[in-house]
């Protein structure tokens, strides 16, 4: 079959597959015409599609399992390996099968491990050989001993080791209801065995209770160096680490094994920590049942374990025999927590530096001495929290800063507003008191007299204003107003002194170039005009107008007032030519602001007078 044909078959298959079963054949008959082969091919595909039970529909893991199971557990025809006779299968471990065998001449039992499917790859045989080498290196009463090794005719390697009749550590402790001291003593001997391996530069990498058997005499044996690793070995390529990682039992695996990080003696320290946890709390630190491998990895790498003391007390509410045997004082539990969690620290650098250090602390505990290990400081934990939640902490800090900034901003603003309001209220109060004094003449009982004259009021006001030194701004305003009033009453001398005082005060308070000073200048200018001192009047009003022009927008009532005043002064001086544009400007300003007609009419009249006088002047060019 070629590609074209296959594409043709596929196209028809897809088209027909979506049709109801009964229409498929009719459709194909019309589509294939006389090509019977084509039709047969498509029909075969449709049939398989409907059946959906081929090997491809199952999981490859299932297929692999079945395949490897098919010829599982091979054995010698004679069932004899040298002087050993196979009794039965003990189990499978990784790449090997372990048999119970009997030495024919001596009669004692041994365990024989053979490499299954040795033909698969040299790497496989190398790994098996390395386990054998490491076992041969380790000579310790608590480590299952290597006795013998050989290779079968077909190249399958096998070795003989001590047969350990015992039960896993945790099962033993539970069955015998061991006390904390007994558990720690057994744990200690496990540590001693692991420490021996470390001294030979061998890292076990798969420490777990099922690899630690307790014999009937209470002695322990460390087993299964199947994925152990020789430190500084020539073969430090990545696959070794990864293989170890993948074959590791996750419940006891250190975070760096999960992540594929650097493996060292601290890796075994971590696993020992988990074993200690299980011995103390009767539970694993993390519940990994019903978890996918990915979830388990995340939990192990990130989640902090509950303290073993807390976990031990929380045994589903039912006090088990284990918790009864696991009684210890509060301070002892605190030490046990620290010991366990130090060994199990996520950061290898913060674990016990060696198994020896762990053993020392176990001894400290058993002798009732203080531990070398210290719990994580608050500073370390906070730092770690921040590192772990960098983004969240950053965001929280930002939000906090924003809120803090806003609070400060509004507090300052509110304080300012409040101060201004307070000052304003105080000023109002002072003016109120001033007005009261003005009308009552200092005699509160008598009240205002019936024949009160304006001039009397103004005189009193002047006196009152002079004692208002506390608030010079208010004082200046009063001088200005009273001065205006005297001026309108024709009392120019009093007006003169008050308006001058107002100008002085305002210049002192607001500066010479201020709106307030300009107002005083204009007011004084009007007085000078009325006094007939026209040159002074022009100078003062011009000065006031200039200040106004610098600070105010082109259209403004104060500007209009100043312009109108200057216009009148100019008219009074007979300077009609100059007066006319000034008056026109004043009129424009007033009309632009919609000022009340009387003011405008008055100006209008003045302007008309100025214009007519100018028009009739014979010497208009002068």
């Amino acid at each position: 079959m070629d590609s074209t044909r296959w594409n043709q078959i596929q196209a028809l298959f897809h088209e027909a597959a979506d049709l109801p079963l009964l229409q498929q054949r009719a459709f194909l008959q019309s589509a294939c015409r006389d090509d019977d082969d084509l039709m047969a091919d498509v029909l075969a595909l449709l049939e398989e599609d409907a059946r959906g039970s081929s090997m491809l529909d199952s999981d490859v893991a299932h297929v692999a399992h079945e395949l490897l199971d098919e010829a599982c557990l091979p054995v010698m025809k004679s069932k004899e390996f040298g002087p050993y006779r196979i009794v039965r299968v003990l189990g499978e471990a990784g790449m090997g099968v372990v048999y119970l065998a009997e030495r024919t001449d001596l009669g004692h039992h041994v365990a024989i491990k053979i490499l299954r499917d040795a033909w698969l790859s040299p790497a496989r045989r190398e790994r098996f050989a390395s386990e054998q080498r490491m076992l041969a290196q380790l000579n310790h009463p608590s480590i299952a001993r290597l006795y013998d090794a050989d290779t079968l005719q077909d190249g399958t390697p096998w070795f003989v080791m001590e047969y350990v009749e015992g039960v896993p550590l945790t099962e033993y402790c539970a069955a015998n209801d061991c006390s904390i001291e007994e558990r720690l003593k057994m744990f200690r001997s496990v540590c001693v065995a692991v420490q021996h391996a470390h001294a030979q530069a061998v890292i076990h990498r798969d420490l777990k209770p099922s690899n630690i058997l307790v014999k009937s005499d209470g002695s322990i044996r460390l087993l299964d160096f199947g994925i152990a690793k020789q430190l500084e070995s020539l073969d430090v390529s990545m696959d070794q680490t990864r293989t170890g990682l993948r074959l590791m039992t996750p419940a006891y695996a250190a975070p760096e094994q999960i992540r594929g990080g650097r493996i060292g003696i601290q890796t075994d320290v971590y696993s020992l920590g988990v074993i200690l946890y299980e011995l103390l709390a009767d539970h694993l630190p993390f519940d990994l049942s019903n978890r996918t491998p990915g979830e388990a990895e995340t939990i192990l790498a990130e989640q902090e374990p509950e303290k073993p003391s807390a976990r031990a007390k929380r045994t589903n509410g039912i006090p088990s025999p284990v918790t009864r045997s696991l009684s210890a004082s509060k301070s002892s539990w605190a030490d046990l927590d620290v010991m366990c969690l130090t060994a199990m620290h996520k950061d290898p650098q913060r674990r016990y530096a060696s198994v020896e250090a762990l053993i020392r602390d176990v001894d400290h505990y058993l002798k009732g001495e203080p531990l070398d290990a210290r719990p994580d400081s608050l500073r370390y934990r906070v730092g770690k929290f921040v590192r772990r939640n960098r983004r969240a902490v950053g965001a929280a800090a930002l939000v906090f800063l924003a809120i803090f900034g806003l609070v400060v901003f509004y507090t300052v603003r509110l304080t300012r507003a409040r101060n201004a309001a307070l000052a304003e209220a105080a000023r109002t109060q002072r003016v109120q008191r001033f007005m009261q004094n003005l009308f009552q003449g200092g005699d509160e009982e008598a009240g205002p007299a019936d024949d009160l004259r304006v001039v009397t009021l103004l005189d009193r006001g002047t006196q009152q204003a002079k004692i208002l030194d506390a608030d010079p701004a208010v004082q200046a305003d009063l001088y200005e107003e009273i001065g205006d009033s005297y001026e309108q009453l024709g009392k120019y001398d009093q007006a003169d002194s008050l308006l001058n005082l107002a100008l002085e005060k305002r210049r002192a308070i607001y500066g010479p170039d201020s709106a307030e000073s300009a107002e005083s200048l204009v007011a004084l200018g009007i007085l000078r005009k009325d006094q007939g001192r026209l040159e002074d009047a022009e100078r003062l009003v011009t000065e006031g107008l200039d200040i106004r022009k610098r600070h105010l927008p082109p259209v403004h009532p104060a500007l209009a007032k100043a312009s109108a005043t200057l216009g009148r002064v100019m008219v009074a001086r007979g300077e009609y030519v100059q007066a006319i544009p000034i008056l026109e400007a004043a009129l424009r300003q007033q009309s632009a602001q919609g000022q009340p007609p009387p003011t405008s009419w008055e100006l209008w009249e003045i302007w008309q007078i100025a214009s007519s006088i100018w028009a009739t002047t014979p010497n208009r060019n002068s």
């Binding site: 897809h14 599609d49 692999a64 080791m161 350990v164």
Partner: protein
């Protein structure tokens, strides 16, 4: 419990199989693995897994025909059921044939079946739409199933 090694640890969720082990060992021999993208790595892993499985199947098949005289089996399990080994070898041949007429589909089947890549991953790897992958899978699977049935 009186064995030095237990058959399986009930608490283990990553159940180690000799197969995965083998695939990893094989991958370790490829020097450029470290520099590949995760997706490409999965693709290579699928290829490795196929090789290991086919190799194992070939060996099993040879044993069954009596070539490996050294081994006999404890029980008669081998003869009780249709052989996965033979079916896998047939699948291998059929996949090779498919690669001749439609290389993309063969690669897809290999990635999906042997490597466990999901549809979006394969679509990204082969640079086609997910709908195309699903169509291809349906047709290719039916064709391969037909081939396997014929070879029985």
């Amino acid at each position: 419990m009186a064995s030095s090694v237990r058959r399986s640890d009930p608490r283990a969720t990553l159940n180690p199989t000799a197969l995965v082990n083998e695939a990893w060992l094989k991958l370790g021999n490829s020097p450029r693995i470290a520099s590949t993208s995760p997706l490409h790595f999965k693709r290579i892993a699928a290829r490795a897994m196929r090789q290991v499985l086919i190799e194992a199947a070939r060996h099993r098949n040879a044993n069954k025909r009596g070539a490996g005289a050294v081994f006999v089996t404890f029980d008669d399990r081998l003869d009780r059921r249709p052989s996965y080994a033979k079916e896998l070898l047939d699948l291998d041949r059929a996949l090779d044939e498919l690669a001749q007429i439609h290389p993309r589909q063969a690669m897809m089947v290999e990635s999906r079946f042997f490597g466990g890549l999901d549809t979006p991953e394969i679509a990204q790897l082969l640079e086609v739409s997910e709908a195309t992958i699903l169509r291809d899978w349906r047709a290719a699977k039916a064709w391969l199933a037909h081939k396997l049935r014929q070879a029985r």
